[in-house]
Symmetry: C2
Subunit: 240 residues, 2 copies
């Protein structure tokens, strides 16, 4: 086998997440627009408040809830009823309490991979919420370890590998974000497969893949074949 550890991103790789944020964004616009000046772009403003707050609040639904309340007050010059604000906080809260909904093919694929590899979750986000999601996912027993991090940069991946007693050459990462799950892993000499979700949070957009070559798979079900291809590729390389 070409790898010891196969690691997975969580949100939008193992289970749905961004669809919930998108739905709450729509509710935000519907709830706030009636109190905002004619023509105000409520969605854009929410995104800009989220971006502005990011260095202080970081990722996750609590950060998003606070940004919604702040954006709603700003957009309406404070005229938004407090009942609407409470409704926005309830929407944000629903992102935390929503049951985990696994993506198609996750259970079968991970059960199969768990027989051959150490499986790990490496995810950004809120510590409590991410652990709660893993714990209630029904597939938590397949993971040797769950790591919640602030940023997925090369240094983060190196630290995790050191603590897992693993080498970059025998490490593979699978995730929906080229920026967080693919490029930093390739940068440290690991392997990575990109499995896009139909939505991508704007914070994960990447303009440039920095010349890296990597495979984009249609679904997580293609990961075992991708791993096989890595093995064959290495054999070919080593017999040249």
């Amino acid at each position: 086998m070409p790898f010891d550890i196969v690691a997975f991103d969580a949100d939008d790789t193992l289970w749905h997440s961004e669809d919930g944020f998108e739905r709450v964004c729509q509710r935000f616009v519907e709830a706030v627009a009636p109190y905002a000046p004619e023509g105000a772009d409520c969605f854009r403003h929410l995104m800009s408040v989220e971006r502005r707050n990011f260095p202080v609040y970081g990722y996750g639904a609590k950060a998003f809830s606070l940004s919604m309340v702040e954006a709603a007050i700003e957009l309406t010059g404070g005229s938004i009823p407090t009942t609407v604000l409470q409704g926005l906080m309830d929407e944000g809260r629903s992102l935390i309490t929503r049951p985990v909904e696994l993506l198609d093919g996750v259970v079968e694929t991970l059960e199969r991979l768990a027989r051959a590899f150490r499986l790990v979750v490496i995810t950004k986000g809120d510590l409590l919420h991410q652990h709660q999601k893993v714990a209630t996912s029904g597939i938590d027993h397949l993971f040797e370890h769950v790591e919640v991090v602030n940023e997925k940069d090369p240094g983060t991946y190196r630290t995790i590998l050191r603590r897992l007693d693993a080498t970059t050459e025998r490490f593979a990462m699978v995730g929906n974000s080229v920026k967080s799950d693919v490029i930093p892993v390739l940068n440290i000499g690991g392997s990575a497969a990109h499995v896009p979700y139909h939505l991508l949070w704007e914070g994960e957009h990447v303009d440039d893949d920095h010349g890296h070559e990597f495979e984009t798979l249609d679904s997580i079900g293609e990961v075992p074949d991708w791993i096989d291809r890595q093995r064959r590729r290495r054999r070919t390389e080593s017999t040249r």
Copy 2:
């Protein structure tokens, strides 16, 4: 030396934290009381909302900010001005952006201990905020590792020790919470010293120390002597 690893709690053990929450609680009461019914106990209500939200929001200033907004709306039947709500969120935010203020004796004590032990931080709270505090503390270079956890129970400590390749017998924990820093460590066979802060968040109150014997120190500066006492005690025990 009796230990390999000496671990420290962070908030109210290495730096001030609860004093900030207490100050913001007072501001909450001052800001909300004028809009609440005569005789309402604003502080008690905030505490009850915080407790109610805890399973969903967990620890930290973002959770506290959301609970303040929710409690203010409830206490005033929604009549609280949105400018006051924004002010409460700003107060909550100030808990995140306040500069780290180390407790007396921390620098000298940790610099001394770092020459003989692997030093580690084990703290509850918000992942981003806790790492930011360590990073800006001026003493981050003294720590081999920083672990942010949801709960400090025996299982959590066992997992951390396994990952640090350490044994419970050679592990010491220092912290201000008997409930989180002392009892679970003694329960797994480690050593722990209690260094109280002058304030204790009600979530950390413990009614019963379960018959455990442990030392309560006046300040972190007494930790090196406490470690010496552990060594002498062990020698005495081993020569009996």
